[in-house]
Amino acid sequence: MCCVVAHILYLMKTFIKIAIVLSIGFYSCKKDKKTETPEPEPTVVTGSLKLNFENLVDTLPLDFVTNYVNANGDTFKISKFNYYISNIVITKTDNSTFTEPNSYHLVQASDAQSSLITLSKVPLGSYKSISFMLGVDSTRNCSGVQDGDLAVSKNMFWSWSTGYIMVKLEGSSPQSGATTKALTLHLGGYYGVNKAQRNFNFSFGTSTANVSESIAPMVHLAVDASKMFKGQNTISFATNYFQMSPGAAVKKFADNYAEMIEFEHVHND
């Protein structure tokens, strides 16, 4: 009898234990469900692509000490070389495109970091070409005070006749018509026949820039400042040494610098 009771008690205990374990399990499941954060959106994996603008004079790296010679035979030194790169679009081999949002970059030869532009959140895949503007589009010239690289405090903005300086080159030349022998070339103007922006579109040729999770390819572009002074118009510093407002004289430079940038190659490593 005693034995039977003990057995029943044992069964009950076991049952209670099981019940407790089950209920705990059940409760904890429930609790888990309650505190579970919503399933995150399936993340679109993206990568990045880098652009390296290499500033040159002819084939030499651009620096602030070398005496260069322009196509007209004038000797010159550079003390400042700034320009805007904007509206960057890259195109995949399947012709889909990635447009960099808020795409405005000030490249300054005095600041090596500024020559390296990283496009982020780029969809993975193989890219075959790139396009961008040298300068700032007319919309941003007309939309009031901007921030970042377009801030007026970057000293690439005309205060008295609104507009961005698209390309700024300063330096000196013994042939300069200025009494100080200075070269002061502030080239801008955002509308009309003399507008100073120029568009570039480069195919990567037989290569592609392969953006993956692990590799951010780098596109190398050469910017040859000497080409500002030759091409459609051979520039003589005796007469073209000072430019600070839009107009036909700026167009002469702009038609030259339309050929200033060249695609070099892509690194996929």
Partner: protein
């Protein structure tokens, strides 16, 4: 809705600015002083503050900056130095205004009001947006002659501006964008639409024009309104109004901006609102009285290049008609505007 918000802002701004100064001006102002809704019959403004949400803190920052002498190289000149509240923000009795080191410019300081309607700024229209306008006088070597980065450094070092920027934007950081957007709030809200003429047109407060003013109004419509077009009293066009060229000033007007020979000696038509307060007159401040201005149009027109075709024979007006027109022009003075405490220098409360 917008209106309501601004009305609240206006009262708050007043309270904020007034609290630490003169208790006698710490009175709520009539709530319709800062108008954000477009006055009846006016065109839509060009500047709508769409990227620059109005707040009492940002307005207060803009007001402080407008009256801030640190904007100039030697810390002596503010915007308010040459744009005086009591002169409808023109420079009273100054043909040319003084820049740093008492340098004189070549153009007369215009009145500032209803700027949100201006498609471009300066007599030559060289500046295309209200937010970048102050950079012109700040960096002009004969005006405030200061580098914007130096201005920002001075403001960043100032305890007063640390708190004003923080109140306006959440952090103390001084950026050129923050600075100029705040100034655009102050400048853009300088609405002037409460002259006797406005009350008459709106049939408010039983205001009527007297017989002479009414005669002047009819004459004005017939002879002046083509260019000084109601309700803003300007058409914002560039015109050569036949002033004798002053060779000493070497000023080509609009052509200075466009480089176009067809723009030589053209200047933006000024608004005639508050015109009785904004003397001297013309882009170079050469005329002192309204009588002289009307005399210019009857018998002073010079046939210089690009003379506006409408002016080639002058505008015939008899002596009596001129008196009537001037009586009408005086109804365009907005006393409420020039006495608005929120537009006054916060450093020198009246």
């Amino acid at each position: 809705m917008n209106n309501k918000r601004i009305l609240t802002v206006s009262v708050l701004v007043f309270g904020l600015a007034a609290c630490k100064v003169d208790p006698k001006i710490n009175q709520p102002l009539p709530v319709d002083d800062l108008v954000i809704t477009v006055p009846n019959g006016w065109p839509e403004p060009v500047y709508t503050f769409s990227n620059n949400p109005i707040s009492k803190e940002t307005f207060a920052l803009g007001r402080a900056l407008f009256y801030e002498t640190m904007l100039s190289k030697d810390n002596t000149i503010s915007c308010g130095s040459c744009h005086q509240n009591f002169a409808a923000f023109a420079n009273d009795d100054h043909q040319f205004s003084h820049g740093v080191n008492d340098q004189l410019g070549i153009r007369n300081s215009p009145g500032l009001f209803n700027l949100a309607w201006h498609p471009y700024f300066m007599h030559d229209g060289g500046i295309n947006h209200i937010e970048v306008q102050p950079l012109g006088p700040i960096s002009n070597p004969i005006e405030m002659a200061e580098d914007i980065n130096t201005v920002m450094a001075k403001l960043s070092a100032s305890g007063k501006y640390k708190s004003l920027f923080k109140e306006a934007y959440g952090t103390e950081e001084v950026t050129s964008q923050r600075m100029f957007r705040a100034m655009a709030q102050f400048m853009g809200l300088l609405y002037s639409n409460n002259s006797k003429y406005d009350y008459y047109k709106r049939q408010e407060n039983n205001v009527t024009l007297n017989e002479q003013e009414l005669r002047g109004y009819s004459l004005f419509i017939a002879k002046c309104n083509t260019c000084h077009k109601e309700p803003l009293f300007t058409d914002f066009q560039f015109r050569n109004n036949g002033l004798k060229v002053n060779p000493l000033l070497k000023d080509s007007g609009r052509a200075h901006i466009t480089g176009e020979p067809g723009d030589v000696y053209k200047y933006k038509t000024p608004s005639l609102r508050n015109v009785a307060l904004t003397y001297p007159y013309m882009h170079d401040g050469r005329l002192t009285t309204l009588e002289e201005c009307l005399d210019h149009y009857t018998n002073g027109i010079q046939n210089t290049i690009n003379l506006d075709p409408k002016l080639k024979d002058g505008i015939p007006m008899s002596a009596e008609e001129k008196k009537d027109i001037i009586a009408f022009l005086r109804t365009l003075t907005d006393y409420k505007f020039i006495n608005d405490q929120r537009f006054a220098d916060p450093n020198f409360p009246r």
